[in-house]
């Protein structure tokens, strides 16, 4: 379908909304509640755009594109409507960007910046602190919540855990857990899907607080080291340190979803307990050794045993947690050098 957006012509495949068409072509329309995997909620009303021939502004997120449609996203009228919503959202909570974990990756901040907000353009909210710190990994700051509803949809319909709810109605409505109890006491399994979809700093990963700003981190894609699902992770790395883990939204198999282990169980690698030097046991206790000494010792012992008792007197257990390449190397060592098939791993546990 042929459409024009802000005077430019685009070819759009059928079945797309105005917002999708704009996003696919690099045109930004402010939006706070829309998320690709949740679909339009039409809740925030920020994505107001004009369509030629339609006297009313429409919401881009849930208006399908039709052939020949002329869309204007940056007319005075559309921008005023967009600014109005952003102003409301800013006034409805304590949007303290300076200290907010989400700063730099916040969709509300992005919208305000894009719309060139100045200090005089919006009311600042001032509400008493309302933080739920009860959960092990997720911090809930109700004052930063704009009630976009993404977390509720994600918790109930993506990961289907049914924990997050909207409680009460109207201006006093807020997100709540189970029957309105603190998150840490609720049946929340801390998969963190809510933090993944939260557009603002309302639901953040506790572990990451103060570790790195959004613009300081490099994102590295990798595979989760836990179960056999093989979720794709995005490691947020600052100075060689993982400071946060998120799911790769368009990655297979998990499409952004993770569990508590995959999302928060990454920092064991920084544990003080790590083994850092080869160890050799002498008289019942370990002493540090050089690589050469330790490797030579192992090679010598293996040679001796093979000589005296044959290759099958050595056996090896490979690791179902390490990489394919490591397992390959180990079985290669056993088969081609030690000449035994005594190689196995815990394939059965």
């Amino acid at each position: 379908m042929k459409v024009t957006i802000n005077g430019k012509r685009f070819e759009i495949p059928p079945g797309k909304t105005i917002l999708q068409a704009a996003q696919a072509n690099g045109i930004y329309i402010p939006t706070l509640c829309y998320h690709e995997k949740i679909g339009p909620l039409a809740k925030c009303r920020a994505c107001a755009v004009e369509i030629k021939g339609n006297p009313n502004l429409v919401t881009a997120c849930n208006t399908p594109v039709t052939d020949g449609m002329e869309i204007v996203t940056d007319s005075d009228r559309a921008v005023a409507a967009q600014r109005f919503v952003i102003d409301l959202a800013l006034s409805s909570g304590n949007h303290d960007c300076i200290i907010c974990e989400k700063s730099g990756a916040c969709e509300l901040q992005d919208a305000a910046y894009f719309l060139k907000f100045e200090d005089k353009d919006f009311k600042k909210g001032d509400y008493p602190p309302n933080i739920d710190d009860s959960s092990a990994f997720i911090r809930v700051d109700h004052n930063r919540c704009i009630l976009c509803g993404r977390c509720v949809e994600a918790c109930n319909h993506i990961v289907v855990n049914g924990v997050i709810q909207i409680i009460d109605r109207g201006f006093t409505s807020h997100i709540g857990f189970d029957n309105n109890i603190p998150m840490g006491e609720s049946s929340c399994v801390q998969c963190g899907e809510c933090t993944q979809v939260c557009p603002v700093g309302a639901l953040t990963s506790k572990k990451s607080i103060g570790k790195g700003r959004a613009w300081e981190v490099e994102k590295v894609r990798t595979t989760c080291p836990y179960c056999g699902v093989g979720c794709q992770l995005e490691l947020h790395v600052k100075n060689g340190m993982i400071v946060k883990v998120t799911g790769v939204e368009d990655g297979s198999p998990n499409k952004g979803r993770l569990c508590v282990k995959g999302r928060y169980g990454y920092d064991f690698i920084y544990s003080e307990d790590r083994l850092t030097v080869p160890l050799i046991k002498e008289k019942g206790t370990f002493r540090e050794a050089s690589w050469d000494e330790a490797l030579d010792l192992v090679a010598k012992k293996f040679k001796d045993i093979i000589k005296k008792h044959g290759p099958d007197a050595i056996a090896g257990v490979s690791c179902a947690r390490s990489t394919n390449e490591d397992s390959y190397q180990m079985q290669k060592l056993f088969r081609s050098v030690l000449k035994t098939n005594n190689i196995d791993h815990c394939a059965r546990t």
């Binding site: 049914g162 189970d178 029957n179 840490g184 049946s187």
Partner: protein, 158 residues
């Protein structure tokens, strides 16, 4: 062990039986009759019967102003604060009158647990304003004398 709630059935979001679910408001009314409000136990019971999460039940109940999530007195006096009651010398005037008479402020319950005083939105008694409601009973065309009458009768009840 920490105080995390065990995840327990039933779970919402999936396999909700629409016919069962449509009984939600009716079930909440019944549950509320027990204690005058929806205790945690009442919420759990409704959840179990309708096969949805307690959280879903709580969320739904909290949307509706006739469901109470906290205990109230035996008689809940709800004074209409609608526009027509206001124009007819009702609303705050009635509420203040009742408040003085019972010695409680709006939102409070008398120490004997008998009366709770609240305001409520338009009761569709605009043609017979001012109006107030005590539990299931609607009182209209209120005057101080009528209010005295109602309250004294209820106070006298054991």
């Amino acid at each position: 062990m920490n105080n995390r709630k065990e995840f327990k059935s039933p779970v919402g979001g999936a396999i909700v039986d629409p016919a069962k679910r449509s009984m939600m408001l009716a079930a909440l009314y019944i549950a509320q009759e027990q204690n005058g409000y929806l205790s945690e136990e009442a919420i759990q019971q409704v959840a179990k019967r309708l096969n949805i999460t307690p959280g879903d039940v709580y969320s739904t109940a909290s949307f509706y102003s006739l469901f109470r999530m906290k205990p109230v007195g035996r008689y809940v006096i709800q004074v209409c604060e609608g526009i027509s009651c206001y124009l007819n010398d009702g609303a705050e005037r009635v509420a203040d009158y009742v408040s003085a008479k019972l010695g409680i402020k709006l939102g409070e319950t008398t120490s004997d647990g008998k009366f709770t005083l609240e305001t409520v939105q338009c009761l569709a008694s605009c043609g017979t304003a001012p109006a107030m409601r005590v539990n299931d009973q609607l009182y209209e065309n209120l005057s101080p004398a009528i209010i005295d009458d109602i309250l004294e009768r209820l106070m006298g009840e054991v």
